[in-house]
């Protein structure tokens, strides 16, 4: 708790003229100028392949992969629900595996192949999982949906690749494409609207070759 306590940042007098020019004009007259905390943001070039297209960006090293997608590439299909790896809304596929894009910095992904919801399909050319979500009403507000769909696509691949799970009765056997396997493996993607049963139905439809 910070009550009755006053703490300050360590005062350093590092000035980086180039980076502060925008800020300098808006510093009110009463503020003491030129006492800047820390270093100016470091910007580095980042090259990604996003949805099959090469993207070259110049990014603040603090920018997450999620914000690189949403704020820099304007691919806002990937959602920010918590920014702390707690909800799964930001799930994307990186080199074919699902990750929470809020939990890694963009600079960690030099040369990586990123697939977002926009890369899976479009309204005119839906991915099978997207069609199945529509058919089974596997969403309501839609905010967790891109993350759920990316996760669902990855989960089917993970099961087919034989990656074991907590609910598997015998981990030496190939895991089944079952309701409980889907539900267990999808549990990192929260849906507060509670569309879980419909998402499981959509996954079963795709796993069975339908949708």
């Amino acid at each position: 708790m910070a009550d009755n306590v006053k703490t300050g940042p360590s005062r350093r007098t590092v000035i980086a003229a180039g980076a502060v020019s925008a800020a300098a004009t808006s510093i009110p007259a009463y503020a003491k100028p030129a006492q800047l905390p820390g270093k100016p943001p470091m910007r580095v070039p980042v090259s990604l392949e996003v949805n099959g297209q090469a993207k070259k960006l110049e990014l603040d090293t603090r920018t997450t992969l999620l914000d690189a997608l949403r704020e820099h590439l304007k691919l806002t299909g990937t959602k920010k629900g918590c920014d702390h790896g707690q909800c799964g809304a930001c799930t994307v596929l990186v080199n074919g595996e699902r990750i929470n894009s809020c939990l890694s910095l963009a600079v960690q992904h030099q040369g990586d192949k990123v697939t977002t919801i926009e890369g899976l399909g479009t309204p005119d050319k839906l991915h099978a999982m997207q069609s199945a979500f529509i058919k089974h009403d596997g969403y309501q507000c839609g905010y967790c949906t891109p993350g759920q769909i990316c996760s669902a696509v990855a989960v089917l691949d993970e099961i087919r690749a034989g990656i074991p799970s907590h609910v598997q009765l015998d981990v030496s056997e190939p895991p089944p494409l079952s309701n409980m396997e889907f539900r267990e493996r999808m549990s990192g993607n929260i849906c507060r609207c509670g569309a879980y049963s419909n998402i499981a139905a959509a996954m079963a439809d795709v796993a069975g070759g339908g949708a």
Binding site: A31, C141, I190, G194, I199
Partner: protein, 733 residues
């Protein structure tokens, strides 16, 4: 159009589009990431800057000093607004503490500063440099300790909220079988997936807010009060809303601070409330303490029923009233309802999905289970035996509009396999697991409110509906399109729907389970007006013409809708006084099967069933989703959800999605929903009632009753977590 008499036979009784399972028309956008939510609208205004909110680190007291010197000098910073440099803003609807401004702190994480910078990272970094000192005051944080002294709440007319029918005390004293039990429910968080978010832009004295809000018209009026400006100069736009559950009914700090910051920065500013601020900065469902006393004869007929409820709020008003269903759900000649409210210094309590009833059923419907056991009676039979006659108990002038609770219970009993339930707790074993079944009834009021829409013809056979109605995941887009397609006789794909823009006619909005019934009635009314206008244009009586398949048959002639050219009407529905003679409600029977591990006490829901009676179901596909989703939220309330109060410092400790546990996929293995084929002519011309809140009323109690049936351990303090029952689990044999 005024709806001032029960609906007779109308075109919805032969419906071709309404009532059919219809995939959402917004589905292709939502599933491909193309539906734009508030924070994502890069295209609506240029030069957007990033705002980052700082929340108070104390719950009660004053800010003695704020030092933003370092923040203002930090790289990329455009502006810093501080509460101490800002006059407190006005209060909009249901804002109990100012959303920004002044040195007084009313609750933890109240917004006290905002940094605006060129990038998100710069704003966040600079926000951490603001140094604030506080003079902390003592606060009222311990609700259970304060509750016994709490006064009666005030009802809608300002009178103490205490209702009596007959003589409860004498009847309870004389009752052959009695239950006297107290239940507690914790504070809960809406925890919708999309954080509260707004982009604010000024154009002279005009303000536009691209935001995430359930009630556009309330929001516009409220922003006017908050900023002291004419609401005419304010526009809200919320076409997609990433969940609300009541948490986005009212204007919150994201919108206010974005507007203030945009003014100071002279730039559009976008803000998403950080997830860790949401629980304490915004509203929550209040904790309750509920005492149930039920007296019955040996035949199971209730003779005395008392439900007393305690909750607390920052303003000593607007609590969580768990008694709401109790006057309506069961018969009984002698009754007492009382609702008390304490004043607290915790964050603001307000509506969350089925406010009142959601937690009320967690008490009443477990008390009924306890009564059934004491009577040695099946809990379904007990409920059926206490079904009221055709009027609300104690109010012979108030008729039930259309009530089929008994059918719900019987249908559910058959479908769920209730006959396999063993009445004696702890008597079903499946390997390591103790298995139990539970049932509960559900009631949720079905309000309908004034609602308007504009309906246009595009001149090419297409129809455009424009209203400020919102779709918070409820499926409004689709049921509105279905309603327009039905009324104007066009295929669904010929209807375009634009929602959430305050420039369009004001709808009822999304809240209180009234959205579907009200907004479709409003669109129907506007379409009827349009039919009349089409008739005037083409020379026939629009009320008598037949609109079907994109054509109109009138006076023995056939017209294409396109022949009417471009037309536009504003219309809407208002609901007349005749409704006051009725209790218009929705009903459900909820069933759950739960397994509790005999060794570890781990509890797992195995399956759930809801049988719902809500009149015409406009879109069975999305209505079912509403109900399964509500069942999930109810499972959370029963088994895991709790905002934990730090009673020393006055805040919710577990204020993020790691600490505040909500159900995940693996918690919900199997769900089933059945809708009875009923019609309610009192609700609206469509005879359709809402289901989104019905679905959460009773499910938690069914789960709690199932856990008791599995283990023989009754837990009356929600959520029912392992620590509360493990030591009382049956010995292993």
């Amino acid at each position: 159009m005024e709806f001032n008499a029960p609906a007779g036979r109308n075109l919805f009784d032969a419906s071709k589009v309404v009532g059919k399972s219809t995939p959402r028309i917004d589905g292709p956008l939502k599933t491909t990431g193309q539906a734009p939510y508030a924070y994502e609208r890069h295209d609506v205004v240029a030069n957007q800057a990033y705002g980052y909110i700082v929340g108070s680190a104390i719950a009660k007291g004053r800010i003695s000093a704020m030092d933003a010197e370092a923040a203002r000098a930090a790289p990329g910073v455009i502006a810093v607004i501080l509460a101490t440099e800002t006059k407190p803003v006005g209060k909009g609807m249901s804002n109990y503490a100012p959303l920004f401004g002044g040195s007084d702190i009313a609750h933890y994480h109240q917004a006290i500063a905002c940094v605006v910078a060129e990038t998100f990272e710069q704003a966040r970094s600079a926000a951490a440099l603001i140094r604030t000192s506080y003079d902390r005051s003592a606060g009222r944080f311990d609700f259970p300790k304060l509750a016994p002294e709490a006064p009666l709440a005030k009802d809608e007319e300002g009178k103490p909220d205490r209702q009596t029918v007959g003589d409860f005390d004498s009847a309870f004293a004389a009752a052959e079988v009695k239950i006297d039990a107290t239940y507690t429910t914790p504070d809960e968080s809406h925890a919708m997936m999309e954080p509260h978010a707004t982009i604010a832009a000024w154009d002279g004295d005009k303000l536009t807010l691209w935001t995430s809000n359930q009630m556009i018209n309330w929001g516009k009026e409220s922003m006017g009060k908050i900023l002291g400006m004419d609401p005419k100069n304010i526009r809200l736009d919320s076409p997609y809303i990433g969940g609300g559950f009541g948490g986005k009914l009212f204007i919150r700090a994201d919108a206010v601070v974005a507007a203030l910051a945009a003014k100071q920065a002279k730039r559009p500013v976008k803000i998403a409330l950080q997830r860790p601020l949401m629980a304490n900065n915004t509203t929550h469902r209040h904790a309750t303490i509920q005492r149930l006393r039920i007296g019955a004869g040996r035949d199971g007929r209730i003779t005395a029923l008392a439900h007393e409820n305690w909750s607390g709020n920052i303003n000593g008003k607007e609590g969580e009233n768990g008694t709401l269903q109790t006057p309506v759900l069961y018969a009984g000649a002698n009754r007492l309802i009382a609702n008390y409210i304490a004043t607290l210094d915790l964050p603001e309590g307000n509506a969350m999905r089925a406010p009142g009833e959601a937690v009320g059923h967690l008490a009443l419907e477990v008390a009924m289970d306890e009564l059934a056991e004491k009577l040695g009676m099946d809990p379904i039979e007990l409920r059926i035996r206490n079904e009221p006659k055709s009027t609300v108990p104690g109010k012979p002038e108030k008729r039930f509009s259309d009530r089929n609770l008994v059918r719900c219970l019987r249908e559910g009993s058959t479908r769920f396999g209730w006959d396999r339930r063993k009445a004696k707790p702890g008597s079903v074993r499946d390997g390591q697991w103790l298995v139990g079944m539970g049932v509960a009834a559900g009631y949720r009021a079905a309000p309908a409110n004034k609602s308007a829409a504009r309906v246009r013809l595009d001149g090419n056979g297409g129809v455009i509906v424009e209203t400020d109605m919102t779709d918070i995941g409820t499926g409004s887009y689709t049921i509105i399109a279905q309603t327009a397609a039905e009324t104007l006789g066009v295929p669904l794909e010929k209807v375009k729907v634009t929602l959430g823009d305050s420039d369009h006619p004001a709808a009822a909005g999304s809240g209180g389970q009234w959205g579907a019934a009200s907004s479709t009635a409003g669109v129907y009314a506007a379409c009827v007006t349009l039919r009349q206008k089409i008739g005037q244009t083409l020379g026939f009586d629009g009320d008598k013409a037949e609109f079907a398949g994109g054509k109109i048959k009138a006076n023995g002639k056939s017209f294409d809708l396109a022949e009417a050219g471009k037309l536009s009407v504003d219309g809407g529905i208002e609901f007349g006084k005749f409704k006051d003679d009725y209790d218009v409600g929705t009903y459900a029977a909820h069933f759950a099967e739960v397994a509790v591990n005999a060794y570890t006490g781990e509890a797992r829901i195995r399956r759930m069933l809801a049988v719902c009676d809500a009149g015409r179901i406009l879109n069975p596909l999305s209505a079912r989703s509403q109900v399964i989703g509500a069942m999930v939220m109810a499972a959370g309330a029963a088994m895991m959800e709790e905002l934990v109060v730090d009673t020393r410092f006055g805040f919710f400790v577990n204020h993020d999605l790691a600490g505040y546990e909500v159900p995940v996929h693996a918690d919900i293995p199997a769900q089933d929903v059945v809708f009875l084929d009923t019609l309610d002519p009192i609700i609206s011309p469509l005879k359709a009632k809402g289901v989104g809140e019905l679905g959460i009323c009773g499910v938690g109690a069914a789960i709690a009753n199932a856990m008791y049936n599995a283990t023989g351990v009754r837990v009356r303090e929600y959520p029912i977590t392992l620590d509360k029952y493990f030591e009382r689990m049956p010995m292993l044999t």
